[in-house]
């Protein structure tokens, strides 16, 4: 079981609510994925309406499927805005979980490490379970751990790009060094990308676009679910080393056998 802050999860596939063609399809896909943590942009949630129409069908099945909400601060361009948004989200959605997304660059939506660190320090001190979306920067991840984040979410490639794990080697370092859960976020474009992250030892992956924009989002959600389970199982089973060179004999040391 994966534990983040005070919550445990039996599914290691986290999902998102964006980009679906309607809210019923979104709910169906998320339920099919078996996901228990679902991120949503606060900017899409109508704080005045009790039952927002984009979340309606999802919230209806929330209890039955152990769905937890992870509001995100997408749209925030600095720490101040993200902190304010997190407080609004806690009030509106009744959860202390928050995913910090601060991207001042609206083109590639790459996260601002300086503002992210500031926001995480403040929000962790305020009692939030903070999950920051960051570059695959091992030092930044350690710094975030020191200010008390609940997990780190390094990116595989830019959000929505479906390019896969372009930052693979750095994610490997982060996994090796981290003492909080590592959730690979952004850029995971296919189930094989998700499986690869899990085989490398990631604690979970977050997938949104690749499911939402698939021709059949429900089937794609199931494919991701299976891939994450397979990847995790492979990690635990221990992968063999890889090499292109055949290792038939030991030409340099075989002479020792003669002694």
């Amino acid at each position: 079981m994966l534990k983040i802050a005070d919550k445990t999860f039996s599914s290691r596939l986290f999902t998102g609510t964006g980009k679906f063609s309607n809210s019923q399809l979104m709910a169906d896909a998320i339920i099919a994925s078996g996901s228990e943590l679902v991120t949503m942009a606060l900017k899409r949630v109508d704080l005045n309406e009790q039952q927002d129409n984009i979340l309606g069908p999802l919230l209806d099945s929330q209890l039955e499927h152990n769905l937890n909400l992870l509001p995100n601060t997408s749209g925030a361009r600095n720490a101040e805005e993200a902190i304010y948004a997190a407080q609004l989200a806690r009030e509106a959605l009744g959860t202390h979980f928050v995913k910090i997304e601060i991207h001042p660059d609206p083109k590639y939506l790459l996260p601002d490490p300086i503002e992210t660190l500031k926001a995480c320090e403040t929000l962790s001190a305020m009692g939030f379970a903070v999950l920051p979306y960051v570059h695959a920067d091992p030092v930044l991840c350690k710094r975030l751990e020191e200010v008390g984040v609940a997990a780190v979410m390094p990116l595989g490639s830019p959000i929505g790009s479906n390019l896969g794990l372009k930052t693979k080697d750095f994610i490997q370092i982060i996994i090796e060094q981290s003492s909080v859960p590592v959730v690979v976020d952004a850029g995971i474009g296919s189930p094989s990308d998700a499986a690869l992250a899990m085989e490398m030892g990631a604690d979970a992956v977050l997938v949104n676009s690749a499911i939402a924009v698939a021709r059949d989002p429900v089937q794609m959600a199931i494919a991701f679910k299976d891939a994450v389970i397979a990847g995790r199982r492979a990690f635990k089973a221990g992968l063999g080393g890889r090499s292109l060179q055949a290792k038939a004999s030991s030409p340099l040391t075989a002479f020792l056998d003669d002694f």
């Binding site: 964006g18 980009k19 679906f20 063609s21 309607n22 809210s23 942009a41 606060l42 900017k43 899409r44 949630v45 109508d46 704080l47 984009i54 749209g75 925030a76 361009r77 101040e80 805005e81 902190i83 304010y84 948004a85 609004l88 001042p104 660059d105 609206p106 083109k107 929505g160 479906n162 676009s209 939402a212 924009v213």
Partner: protein, 375 residues
């Protein structure tokens, strides 16, 4: 340093010639590229690209879905005033047009807001003529202040302002500003704008720079299609956007492509863009800037809008009235003596939303939070 410095280096006639000299090879090259240069954009709006329209539309749709998902943002324009001190020969609000002039008072504004909220809108665009005496910064400021609690996203399409004015309005909750150059052809611009502050081509051209410096969240650019050769004007829009993206990298951008239609007895456009060419332009913009918002207004017909909306559009208005006070009266068609231009698609918002759903997209009413505008 502003866009004006770049603009002064661009020769209109050379740009036009460069567009018309593009070949099928240039078009194919652009279609295979994942990040297009300005030169490649020129190929896509050139006559040489016309036989490639289907391939452009396929790629445009795919890029739009990947970036924006299966969604389409809805907004409504709110006309605050049709008073105007400019003479612009193509515009219904022009000073020399004998129309009834009206500026919404605060009580009338409240009635408009109530009518708009009832329709479900959460993103609003405030529009005025240019009459700084009546509809100046202090009027716009008090309107934004009054609307802030009711809308999560507020944009304006008003006369160009100074940087400090934009900063003042942003403190009240302004999110986005649309300002179109109308035409980037300086001599033609002077011919169309005969009186008023709008005659100042340079001040208008540098507006986006002032907005970028003020740090506004979103800037809308565009040309009014029909005033000059549409291809060259669109190439200028693209060059402007290229410059803005590099200079003000924190800002989001939207592009509009309002077109003038030929109509009897009124202003006649000098350059006519066909439906087919407008689709070509929309797809070319999408291939050039996969992140830009592309906005389509109710100037266009129901049939055109419904068919084009999945191809690259991200933002649409619905049930627009271009006369001040039009929503509370629910008298959208009856007040032609007040309006700026005639609306072609006058379906009610729920009918437009239904048409969006019929294309497999989700109509989005809210996609912004005021906590990001002025925390």
């Amino acid at each position: 340093m502003t866009f004006l410095d770049h603009f002064n280096q661009i020769q209109w006639d050379e740009l036009k010639m460069s567009i018309h000299s593009k070949t099928p090879v240039d078009v194919e090259n652009a279609l295979q590229s994942s990040r297009l240069t300005h030169g490649q954009f020129l190929a896509l709006i050139s006559p040489a690209a016309e036989p490639y329209l289907e391939a452009m539309a396929q790629k445009s749709m795919q890029l739009t879905r990947q970036r924006f998902g299966n969604t389409l943002q809805l907004y409504i324009p709110l006309y605050l005033s049709n008073k105007c001190t400019n003479i612009c020969t193509y515009c219904g609000f022009s000073l020399d047009n004998k129309i009834r002039r009206k500026t919404l008072k605060m009580e009338e504004l409240d009635r408009e807001v109530a009518a708009i909220k009832k329709m479900g809108f959460d993103h609003i665009l405030l529009v005025t003529g240019e009459a700084p005496g009546t509809v100046g910064v202090s009027y716009i400021k008090s309107v934004i202040e009054r609307l802030r609690p009711h809308f999560s996203h507020i944009s304006i399409e008003v006369q160009p302002l100074d940087q400090e004015d934009y900063e003042t309005l942003m403190k009240e909750g302004l999110d986005a500003v649309l300002v179109y150059q109308e035409t980037y052809h300086r001599a033609a611009y002077e011919k169309y704008h005969l009186r008023g502050s709008k005659m100042d081509f340079n001040y208008r051209l540098e507006t986006a720079d002032r907005l970028g410096r003020a740090g506004v969240d979103k800037i809308g650019v565009g040309a009014l299609i029909g005033l000059e050769d549409w291809r060259t004007d669109s190439a200028m829009v693209a060059a402007h956007l290229d410059y803005l993206e590099k200079t003000y990298w924190r800002t989001r951008y939207s592009i509009s492509f309002p077109r003038l239609r030929p109509c009897e007895g009124e202003f006649q456009p000098v350059s006519i863009i066909s439906d087919r060419q407008l689709v070509q332009l929309i797809c070319a913009y999408r291939l050039f800037k996969p992140e830009a918002e592309l906005s389509l207004s109710t100037r266009e017909s129901e049939k055109f809008r419904d068919n084009v909306l999945p191809l690259g559009i991200t933002t649409m208005s619905a049930y627009s009235s271009t006369h001040p006070g039009g929503y509370a009266d629910d008298n959208i068609l009856g007040n032609e003596d007040l309006e700026q231009f005639t609306i072609d698609d006058n379906r009610r918002p729920e009918a437009v939303a239904e048409a969006i759903r019929a294309k497999g997209l989700e109509p989005v009413w809210k996609d912004w939070s005021h906590c990001f505008s002025h925390s």
